[in-house]
Symmetry: D2
Subunit: 418 residues, 4 copies
């Protein structure tokens, strides 16, 4: 089963924005293969604008030339991804990533390049052209490159949106892509509902297992069953960054979405802004999260079984951050539990539980949401079961009976009850 | 712990509306003690208007005289509850219910009787009077009897709402009341937030364990933590009756509320309209739910751990209904699980799971929400665990591997996986 | 025709709140007859709570005793209105007011006294009683005395609301009432729509010409035609007091309502808080409006043809205020124009015009809405007519061609163009 | 003063949609000059898509080639407007129209052609290019051709939107354009507020008097003062066609907007769908309005002083329609009145008045909005003036006292009272 557990990997956005290049991807893939693969980290994802020769930093450039083939399909900018020369596309880079035992992913925008429509380029293996598939008024509010597609009507017996999306996913399968993050689509209900279905269908029929991830958030929780049916993961908030207020608000989203996490379909709390970030702006931009906040983030993501995508330049990881993302006890929560949910969330604290699926264990996480230290206590009554033996997973300390802890501001404890 | 499990019992409303009398209560209590107590059924609750001598059927009579004492506290109408004569109140009836090994509950409306305010009656054990405690514009939209109370300000150092509510809960403690269903308050956020707190406080300080239940629904899920802090159960929908569309819609409410069920605080899906109902209108008004719908209702209420309150005239219970409400395997779900929630709910089906707290069991319920028969299947993949052995709890049939079932329209299956 | 021009008079509220008494009414009536009648001022209106013996200041007293007859009709409190003793009601006071050549008005609340319903008092000349006519949940949000009436259904062939309202208007006709200000009704659309119709019908059929005024505002402009059909005047804002921000906002309301002013039906900008106000609180509480603001208020009310109701203790009027309210040139605008409306309203200024109905005159008012002095100019182009001769009505200065003026902050000029 | 009275003319849309050609324009201009000019009709306006060589019927063609110069300014398609060849633009056609004593207008879309942005064409007389001026996400929801402009920020000291709009209005001034109908802008508040200001400024500074008309509607009445400040006319509804329900609804719009009509700024009820329409689809598509409805439309437009723009193929005008649009008495209302507004509008009828500005006349129009004949009556009381002598303007009949009329369904009478 595809995405039987929440995907874990690395994405270039938090570090390199629109300007990531092949070298960077290779060095991060190599690092992951050597240091993180044993812990389950496996996806290497190239984020937005890989087809734009002039891309710089996190900003978008309107009316920039984009590298595409004669069928209006975007190709990596050769100046940034040299191995893609001569029409090779991402195949050489994907091959390299696969050679490390990892998986390769790319970002795409909903739709097709505007100039492919204006130039009436033919769609590969179709009688239709890009001008027929594109909707002139369906444009992204924050990115200037694409037109959305006509997915709800046919022209001469063919669905133009399906024709185009099938043409690109066939190409991605040839390249060896394992993961597609499709953007400008997840919070765009109800307009994009049909387009999501067509993309999902193109993905599932392309001849290769490709995880489909939808962005940006917040996706509407009212459409949870639609998302579960057509995507493997989807964002539940707008872009997440290293600010406490955003992490604080994630508890509300997590509460709404937690019951929808399950094999093959995962609500996604977005990338983990840990370690060295924003490398396109500065060499020294380390995460603004305190160590306690980082622990809280990792714990919440695991308790809700969110996908885990690192946002940092991995080769700059320090020891504490490395320890944080390679704690097997905590990462196990992602793979062995179900039904994770909050028992309560107040202004100052949140208590989550997640039962083990096989075995009788129970994970309990107590978060301090306040700006003051918290003397926390979780009674056996509130858990409705005795606590014969428990172990805190970040410190390794054992206890029994009520779970008691002194928790720093914005910090947390997480126990495994046997 | 009070209400450590979801309360189970009987309430007079579905059968007798505003006109229930002592005889009826006694005969139903006797029946419960003899036939249902072993299965956990224990509360006998007298619903609205017990203080109105002229009450008939389910309708309210504006400006009717209400029986009250010199302190504006309502007393049972002696013509309907003869044992309450001479100021005895509900004590004799409560004593009788207790003598059967059961618990006794009453319904109250938020506020105090309007005439107690107009007559400026003094509040018991207080320097204030009912005119000071009542808010002249705080009236119920569907019942004509009461004024809501002034709970957010003090008069001469005393909170008038607290003074009155304390006076009635002290009386209820003397009577031996074990359960109070307070009405016109649960969907009235944010106006009634403070009044809920004051009532809760009066209840907890009255000197007797009294379960506090809030009506009507829908209570706002955004205020879940407030409800969990101040009430033992609260309605999540408007009045529930024996109509499929209402049962169908309960799945949406149940999905929103399920994570908030826990010891001492239970989202309440309302009374079970089974068996002989509406006896004030007709002797022959049997539930309109089909047997399959009844099974679906019982199963959903148990999977979400809703309180269970019978609405029928129990002495008229037939064998199939009796079997339905005395299935120990199904009722065990209420007492032994946690984290019950839907894996999905589509237009045609809903799949719920609920893990056992102690032990490694898992309950799985598959509901057919459509009007056609459903050939259902639950894979081990979707449950994320192997199914070595499972038993369907309504039929007793065993199976292993995928759970498979032919389910009638509006019906369900519920398995226990060992 | 009743209210062929906008009514002009005095109302006791701004000065005396709920506590006005007979002496005060008589002294103000006498003053008006002597000093203001020649300028068109004629109504003397007794505002709210005249039936409450214990009323004081502007506050309402919940559950206070109200003076009523055996048919649930309110009567003046004899301690406050001695001439009403022995069941005379307001007749002696109305007779006195009429003897001065003036007209007499009273305030009523929508509905009937709550205790008349609780006591099931019979309605005069009807087979129904007050408990049948009252709606137990129809209560005013700011006054504790009344229940609204059942006007949309019949009981035994009789409309209970009509029965009660007919009974009180017949009484008012006997007393000699010329004006009724009915409260808790004008902003209460759509709930009160039918009740307005029934009250209007009772008023028109009571055997005496009674102007019907509806409060409080804002009445909804979407229901303008309904108001024009059933009332003679209605409030277009919430209570208006002597604050510049309220006066500033009246320009928006006036713009929306101006086209609905016409013979028999007048949008009402509320009482004029000029001179000595709030006499129940203090002997020295003079209007907080500056002289310029007072001029602006008078001018706007006249240009939009609002009714004019003085709110002050008239016997304390000083010379400047007296001049303000006895400027015949300005008051003529109320009686001789039509189609008054703004040409524009910006953040800093508003320009209104109002043509004479008979004759070729045009009134032009330029308001300075800013906190700075304004050098204003109105061109012939913008008026679409030549300005051969014009006269400013507050100063008497004449000019021709463009209208030019230096206007103080919050002040205005108003010209008559011949 | 520009547009001192509401503009009157002809527009090609209702007849020819996107496909009007030079021949058609010339023949209609010639007709107008000969038959309608004496009555005040003077504008000849070429509507949308004159720059698209492939345009047909009323539909838009996505990604069609548009005729533009090297500065991204649209030019007439030479195949449709032969006289525009060799870069002459509309000058020859405008010259012809002027030679007839008429005025020439064109339609434009907000923004610049998308391909001008993608091709980074330089803006005439500016250091900026079209890619810098265009906003990639600002696209029209119903037309595929343009990008809206960046008007709220500067690049190197220059406002890019202003640079482009100045460049096109200078060109229009050279061509001899007298009227610009700018589309995709009037109902687009608040997003387009700044763009409206920049366009208005470009129009006023281009060196020629050009009337600025904004479409489509409904423009928001809350922004009336902004519209009055920056445009000469603006649409108050979505496209108006020959359907009674649209005409019926215009009464509501007219009521809201009437007080904002004045010299230089006119709320626009849209083109008059009279006579031969939709000539691009069919040679025989005559207006669906009955003669009574046509009269009602003409009367309402005049009473509210809306601009009058014929939508028909004028050379096919029949006698009754010609009579309708050349009734001098009715057309005079547009030029001689002010303050026109409804006295009331009910489900069945609407009564409007409009006073003469110079002189003592009053126009009174009574509309029958119902599907039955109406026996109408307008009393002197309701007009607040005596009716010594009146004349109905469509029939010429005189009367005095009350105005009485039998009015056909959807018809009207309009009187001039001397």
């Amino acid at each position: 089963m595809l995405a039987a557990n929440p995907p874990m990997g690395w994405n270039s956005w938090d570090c390199y924005g629109a300007s990531v290049d092949e070298n960077t991807v290779r060095q991060n893939a190599a690092y992951m293969a050597e240091h993180l693969k044993p812990y389950g980290w496996e996806y290497i994802v190239v984020d937005i604008q890989w087809y734009q020769p002039t891309a710089k930093t996190h900003e978008y450039e309107p009316f920039a030339p984009l590298h595409m083939d004669a069928n209006g399909r975007l190709y990596p900018a050769v100046n940034r991804f040299p191995s893609s020369a001569d029409g090779a596309g991402f195949k050489p880079l994907a091959d390299y990533v696969h050679s490390l035992g990892l998986k390769f992913g790319i970002h795409i925008m909903r739709g097709l390049p505007r100039m492919a429509a204006h130039n009436h380029l033919p769609i590969a293996d179709s009688s239709l052209n890009c001008a027929q598939a594109a909707l002139s008024q369906s444009v992204c509010q924050w990115n200037p490159d694409m037109y959305g597609l006509r997915c709800s009507e046919e022209i001469r017996g063919e669905n133009p949106g399906r024709a185009y999306y099938a043409s690109i996913f066939r190409l991605y399968a040839q390249w060896g892509v394992d993961f597609v993050k499709c953007d400008d689509i997840a919070r765009e209900y109800p307009q994009c509902e049909k387009e999501i279905e067509i993309i999902s269908e193109a993905c599932r029929h392309c001849g290769r297992d490709i995880v489909l991830s939808l962005s940006p958030g917040p996706a509407p929780v009212e459409r949870a069953e639609h998302l579960k049916a057509y995507a493997n993961m989807w964002r539940i908030t707008d872009d997440f960054w290293d600010q406490w207020d955003l992490l604080r608000k994630m508890f509300e989203r997590a509460e709404k979405w937690c019951i929808h996490a399950g094999p093959g379909h995962w609500p996604d709390a977005d990338m983990l802004p840990l370690g060295a970030l924003r490398q396109d702006y500065s060499q020294d931009d380390w995460t603004h999260f305190t160590p306690d906040e980082q622990k809280t983030m990792m714990t919440l993501w695991c308790m809700m079984r969110s996908p885990l995508m690192l946002g940092c330049e991995m080769t700059k990881l320090d020891e504490p951050t490395l320890a944080l993302i390679t704690n097997r006890d905590v990462l196990d929560i992602e793979k062995t539990t179900y039904c994770g949910h909050p028992l309560y969330t107040t202004d100052t604290a949140s208590l989550w539980i997640a039962p083990e699926r096989c075995g009788n264990g129970l994970y309990v996480a107590l978060f301090n949401l306040s700006d003051c230290a918290l003397q926390g206590c979780v009674t056996e009554d509130s858990l409705e079961r005795p606590v014969t033996r428990a172990r805190e997973l970040w410190t390794g300390q054992s206890c029994s009976g009520s779970l008691q802890a002194h928790i720093a501001p914005h910090g947390c404890c997480v126990w495994r009850i046997e």
